[in-house]
């Protein structure tokens, strides 16, 4: 199910000040291009005073808050069941910090779907426009650049530290909601574990939990220990008080190394389901000594290299330098964490040495790990706008978690169930028949050509004109290459169907697009 419990922590103000209001302050102080001279003169004086005050503050400020950046993102998300449209622009508030190379590090969720990103320095009223240079949605990290060189003047990049110890003290820096000034909160590292990253929803990476208050707006801000960054604040958990989470430097450094080749590939994935192997009978059945080493491969994702090199009931004894315990964990800096971490040391497409116990013998395997994309639709998606086709007012779009979130509680359970099964279970249970990109009829834009259709959307598409629909291109081909008088559309479940008059639809298409203000009938 969707990771509803965790929430990324940027502030979101739908009905807050608009873009011009936010920019007002800066323009009054710095824009010399308009207005009466007297007014300009006054503005200049105010601006000079403000800048001076800001500079004084900068000089007086103690490190490292001078390098902590306030971020405002004006974001606009697509509407997943009406994919040609966008939601209203939302102002998202977050934090970031300066790193080497004149860059700002922040969370991916702070800047996702950003139309414009504004960054502000510590106690400096001037807004600067920033751009996303690299973004890793799986690890919820992003690196921003600022074109205006002045932005980085007198700003020292913060250095990255090591993984903090549990119980050690940390301080979070950021611009959480509830005020305009920078905020500091002190706490200790409560635990270090693999956790689901809420921004993408279907990836687990190393996470530090702290009792330092991490609130909306803190996202992307540094967590500091001994003047070094030991993490990036990023999410909380509903129902847990005094618990915030930050991304440790282990993950940050992996991200920074990944983008060294000027491309972000993502965290690698072994593609296996590892289960504890603690029952003496199972260990004896696999001819393993009854000690605390080794976890069992219980499932393998359809990743060819993994399927080739690992087998069901293989026992992983060591991954890289880490011995694997019988509960499926490794010991990392004194913390017991899921052994999935051991695969995440590598970069995508590198090989990880794995010691395997197979049928009573030890086997050494060099396992290539990949940044798996096969389950992209099962997590939250960013950057790419949703694909769609509008044909005769019928809106076809790929099934995804983002689409499922648009379904209200009143959607018939049978429709939700079928889609949910197709998205989350089919590939495990029936991989040969699983569709690479299941397509849904999201909605029907009312028109005389479809007025007699009983189906009104929220339905999984099975076949069109006899062709099984495996991806959106199949819909396009089946409809556009048809020479029949009628288009036959079959849906799941229970094989309900509808018929369209092909010639009538061809005539109606442009009318429907015009009526509903859709500039293009497709995005493929």
């Amino acid at each position: 199910m969707a990771p509803a419990r965790r929430r990324p922590f940027s502030t979101s103000i739908v009905d807050g000040p608009n873009l011009s209001e936010i920019l007002d302050l800066g323009q009054r102080g710095l824009d010399h291009s308009g207005g009466a001279y007297h007014f300009q003169s006054v503005l200049k004086q105010i601006a000079t005073l403000l800048l001076a005050a800001a500079w004084l503050n900068l000089c007086q400020a103690a490190d490292p808050e001078r390098s902590v950046i306030q971020i405002f993102t004006f974001a606009q998300q697509p509407i997943w069941d009406a994919p040609w449209r966008f939601d209203a622009v939302r102002r998202m508030g977050g934090s970031g910090f300066v790193i080497k190379g004149k860059r700002i590090m922040t969370n991916a969720h702070v800047v996702s779907w950003g139309r414009q990103i504004i960054v502000r320095r510590y106690q400096d009223p001037r807004p600067y426009v920033a751009e996303v240079e690299y973004i890793g949605h799986d690890c919820d990290l992003a690196v921003l650049s600022v074109q205006d060189e002045h932005f980085f003047e007198n700003l020292e990049p913060l250095e990255l530290g090591d993984l903090p110890k549990v119980r050690s003290a940390v301080v979070t820096y950021g611009y959480p909601a509830g005020g305009e000034e920078i905020s500091y909160t002190r706490g200790v590292v409560s635990r270090i574990e693999m956790e689901t990253y809420a921004h993408i929803g279907n990836r687990r990476l190393l996470t530090c939990q702290t009792d330092a208050a991490i609130n909306p707006g803190n996202s992307g801000g540094p967590v500091i220990q001994d003047d070094r960054v030991v993490g990036v604040a990023f999410q909380g958990m509903a129902g847990l008080e005094n618990a915030g989470f930050f991304i440790p430097t282990t993950v940050i450094e992996h991200f920074l190394k990944d983008i060294e080749d000027k491309r972000y590939d993502g965290f690698p994935f072994a593609g296996i389901r590892l289960m504890p192997l603690q029952n003496p009978a199972y260990r004896s059945y696999l001819k393993l000594p009854d000690n605390d080493l080794g976890a069992r491969v219980d499932g393998i994702l359809p990743i060819p290299s993994t399927e080739k090199m690992l087998h069901f009931d293989d026992v992983l004894m060591r991954i890289g330098e880490f011995p694997v315990a019988s509960d499926g964990t490794i010991l990392y800096h004194g913390n017991r964490v899921s052994s999935a971490l051991a695969f995440q040391w590598a970069q995508a497409n590198e090989c990880v040495p794995v010691q395997v116990w197979r049928e009573g013998h030890q086997v050494d395997v060099s396992l290539p790990v990949v940044a798996y994309q096969g389950d992209r639709a099962a997590g939250y998606q960013y950057d790419s706008l949703p694909r769609y086709l509008v044909y005769g007012g019928l809106v076809f779009t790929p099934l995804s978690l983002d689409y499922l979130r648009t379904l209200g509680r009143n959607t018939p359970e049978i429709s939700i169930g079928e889609s949910y099964y197709e998205l989350y279970y089919k590939k495990f249970e029936d991989p040969t028949n699983a569709r690479p990109e299941p397509i849904v009829l999201a909605s029907v834009l009312a028109d005389s050509v479809n007025a007699n259709l009983r189906v009104r959307g929220r339905t999984l598409v099975d076949r069109i004109n006899g062709t099984r629909v495996n991806q959106l291109e199949d819909v396009v081909k089946a409809l556009e290459n048809s020479t029949n008088d009628f288009d036959l559309l079959e849906f799941l479940p229970r094989d309900s169907f509808e018929t369209l008059d092909h010639a009538e639809v061809t005539k109606a298409n442009s009318r429907i697009l015009k009526t509903y203000g859709i500039s293009k009938d497709r995005r493929l």
Binding site: M1, M275, P276, L277, Q278, N279, P280, A281, Y282, S284, Y285, D298, G299, F312, D313, E413, I414, G417, E418, Y420, Y421, Y424, Y425, F428, E429, N452, L453, R454, D485, F486, L488, P493, R494, D495, S496, F497, E498, T499, L500, D501
Partner: protein, 496 residues
Amino acid sequence: MKSLLLLVTILFISALCGQGQESKRAQPSPWEKSVVSLEVSRRQYDYYQPWTRKTSRVQKTGILLDGRQILTTADELFDRTLVRLQKNGRGRWYSGEVTWIDYYANLALVTTSEEGFWNGLKPATFGGSVSEEASLQILRWREGNLENRRAEFTQYTVREGQLAALNVPVIEADSDIQNAGWGEIVTANSHVVAILSSQEGRMCTSIPGPFIQSILDARQKDRYHGLGYFHFYWQGAQNPASLARLKLTGDPRGAIVSSVPPRPDGLDPVIRTQDIILNIDGHDLDIQGDYVDPEYGNMMLEALATRNKWAGDDVKMTIWRDGALTNIVYKLPKFDYSVSLVPAATFDHEPEYLILGGLVFQPLTDSYLQSWGSDWRRRAPFRLVYYRTEQPTKEEPALVLMSQVLPDPYNIGYQEQKCLVVDKINGRHISRLTDLREALDNPKNGYHVIEFAQSDSLRSIVLAAGDSEKEATTRILKRYGIDESYHFESKEKQEK
């Protein structure tokens, strides 16, 4: 003289007052002699701990028919331990006995061998269908008085039954009665016209008299073999393009068959997808799949599977197939809970289970899923609920799941596993607990290898077979206060 006059006046006024009081006293309703109360005690099972028992008690209403039979709904009569009857809304309770029950039709007949109960009672009769203008009354005994609530007729329609996913005719009516749906009697013009089966807000749903009467008559003539149904999916023909594609000539009409799953009785389905059903047993179908019922008015075609037709009966259909009219005869299959992959009900059967070294195995049934409470369709594990949409096959007629693990050193490492559907044990495919028991008799080299259905969760468990298994099971039963390591149906039923 004045005193005498005053006395006469007082007596006269008193007499007048007395007459007034007499005239205000409510006349006893003739229904008091026909409407009776039933008290049902029954076992309740906790399917999450299938070895435990609770009891519950519910009060219902029944109506006396000819032949000393009291008609009520079947609801809450399952797993009964005691049924008692009471007349006049007060006084002693008489031991009752269920003489006939049909959960699919949601009807039951109850009687008593105690003669005293029948004294002063009068059988009621069923009326025909209800007209729109008819004034409906809902009757039941409450706190010693016959409660009589007005109800406003809304419509005859077809709905899923209260105890089975079977489409049957119902009356919908609006009333301010509270906590109804327990067999209350619906009357109009001195006749019983329905019995109430459920209530949601003000909407009262009841089983119509003609439907009840037709079942009782067929039963008397030994023609009733249970309710039948149409084992296919269809949709209306409102879309002219669909009719044109299927080349139907003449006016738009009929219902189009969209899916025909294999019949549970293995017979030829006779009907095919994309057939247009035009007429059933002489009733023309309109483009919504409705026909005009002589008693109920416009009704969905599903009602024709129960309109004086029962399981095993033939239904004549005129269909449009491949551009031509064809007549077919459709034999109605019997609706049965057990023909589903996940049986919808297990009435009058104690929950089955088998405990192996702390691993609890149970059949996957709706009763089990309902352990998640009233919102179980959303709260129970998604995958288990989704099995309800799948059809049983010869290879997979039913499902067994490992519902939970009772922690013990024997099963260490597995304690948190639960709700996993079993695929194989020791290489043998498992559909029923009997398969499972047989599979356990053949361990593999001293181990029980349990494989679960391929999904996103755990695939296999291995346990030691032999003495350690038996010792563990004995120890676990004692520790968790469970009397038996398994409970199955009777041997005859297993073999069947």
